[in-house]
Amino acid sequence: MLELKNLVFEVPVKEGSKETKRIIDDLTLTIPDDTFTVITGPNGGGKSTLAKLIMGIEKSTSGQIILDGVDITELSITERAQQGIGYGFQQPARFKGMKVKKLLEIAAGKKLPMLSCNESLSKVGLCSADWLTREVDKNLSGGEVKRIEIATMLARDPKLAIYDEPEAGIDLWSFDRLTETFRSIHDAGGGRSIIIISHQERIIRLADSIVLLENGKITTTGTPDEIMPQLGLSRKMAMGCQLTEPTRLHITEIPTTC
């Protein structure tokens, strides 16, 4: 179980400034074992920062982070990883010279047989065995490196997996497979919890619990049935801006003989 108690994260308004701005504002949240939680909310609301605070990539200004009864607030990223937290980056790093198989093995913490590597990769839509010997470098597309990132998480199989916008950069065809993968991790149970930061309705619908984060605070929590109406189209329209009529557009000037 993960418990966040009165978590605060502040940054200087400007570099060198003493005046601070709160990104996470006195946030308290409990994530029980065996649950699938989606954190959603508007851009700039503090979702990614919260995920980074749990992994230790950012250090909280005050408050406590407790994993299975152990206070991990002061632990490093490495120590938290060893305690069973995993993190799937929104924009994964690339490594010159590192083969996909090696990255999967680092993630798993042991040598892996080819079959096991292929299994992790096929779950993210990378089915060819050639992938194992490819390098995780700039020659991969954004979508490919993102899928490899998710495969490393599958190989690591952490007790608490945090995914920061896993759908970003993934094509629609692979997205179906991805949602299936999340569903099967969840169904497998074993005390594993998943936290996903997402705006995707189909991922949100998979969740046991949805947390709506705005301005660094939790504004609502509940099940998809409870929360979805609040996130629905009516809300999007209300928050969206009004379209304006283009004033100088003459249809006849647009060539139609392509």
Partner: protein
């Protein structure tokens, strides 16, 4: 081993040539400027040069699937060993050559090995050449390695050269020259690690003389501490040919790296490209590996090992 090799000698040979015992087939092992053991095979003949110190290695046409080992070790402080090794590789061969030099210097005087390797590669032959350089020893004496490599590639030949400086080499000036005839292809990979106050300079000149010849020069290096590296790879295209030069360096501590990849087209049909990058290890790379359970130090080492792999 049958011959008298000390544990230091054996360790050096294992490091530079992955040798554990005498190799099979043709080989020539040299220590402190003298021959330790030599063996020719039915298809590969190794002979002592008559004009200069060194050996001629003659590979009969059509030789396939054989290896030649020619490692050199220097354990005597104050020794300057200069050696000329010339390969004459017949047509239609497919062989592997493992060279390399390891220096163990336990005293204050400089130890130096200058190996001048020349390759005459026959038509349609395929060569893989691996050369590793390594220095060690508790002494303050410099460990100097100045290799010169000259490659003459016949029509439609293929050569893959992997030149690696593992660590411990105080100073190196590397000169690599190649001339390629029509259809020949060269893949030259150089990987260097320097640390402490070490200096490394690498000058490469590749001349693409024939139609459809091509070269790929890949340099990857890591400069740590106060070390300094300078790269000067130059590809000259004199026909309808293709050349690509890529220099990547990771810089750490107070190290300095200068990279000047050059391309020169003497033919309007030459297609030449170069790229170079120097930078620190990205923080996001370290963070990523830490989220997989590695410590910061382990993550850094892993990134460097992969970069130089």
């Amino acid at each position: 081993m049958a011959v008298d090799l000390s544990p230091i000698d054996e360790s050096l040979l294992a490091t530079i040539a992955n040798l554990h015992g005498m190799p099979k087939g043709a080989f020539n092992i040299r220590r402190d400027g003298k021959l330790v053991e030599r063996h020719s095979s039915a298809y590969i003949d190794i002979e002592t040069k008559t004009d200069n110190p060194g050996i001629d290695i003659k590979v009969k046409p059509g030789t396939k699937g054989e290896s030649v080992f020619i490692p050199v070790i220097v354990t005597q402080s104050g020794l300057k060993d200069v050696v000329y090794n010339t390969f004459y590789i017949g047509e239609d061969c497919d062989i592997e050559i493992i060279a390399g030099c390891g220096i163990h210097n336990s005293s204050h005087a400089a130890s130096e090995h200058d190996g001048i390797h020349s390759f005459h590669i026959g038509k349609n032959s395929r060569i893989k050449y691996i050369e590793k350089h390594y220095g060690e020893g508790e002494g303050t004496g410099e460990r100097i390695l100045n290799p010169t490599t000259n490659v003459y590639m016949g029509e439609n030949s293929f050569c893959e050269m992997e030149m690696v400086q593992l660590r411990g080499v105080t100073s190196t000036v590397r000169e690599t020259n190649a001339k390629l005839e029509a259809g020949a292809k060269l893949v030259l990979t150089e990987r260097l690690l320097t640390h402490d106050d070490q200096r490394a300079e690498s000058n490469v000149v590749i001349e693409l003389e024939g139609e459809d010849s091509s070269v790929q020069v890949i340099s990857r290096s890591v400069a740590q501490d106060n070390s300094v590296q300078v790269f000067n790879p130059l590809v000259i295209g004199r026909a309808a040919c293709r050349g690509h030069v890529q220099c990547d360096a990771i810089i750490m501590g107070d190290a300095r790296v200068k990279s000047i990849p050059g391309i020169e087209a003497d033919s309007p049909d030459a297609i030449l490209m170069h790229e170079a990058a120097i930078g620190k290890i990205a923080g996001e790379q370290i963070t990523k590996l830490m989220t997989l359970g590695l410590t910061e130090e382990e993550a850094e080492q892993e990134i460097l090992d992969d970069f130089l792999s």
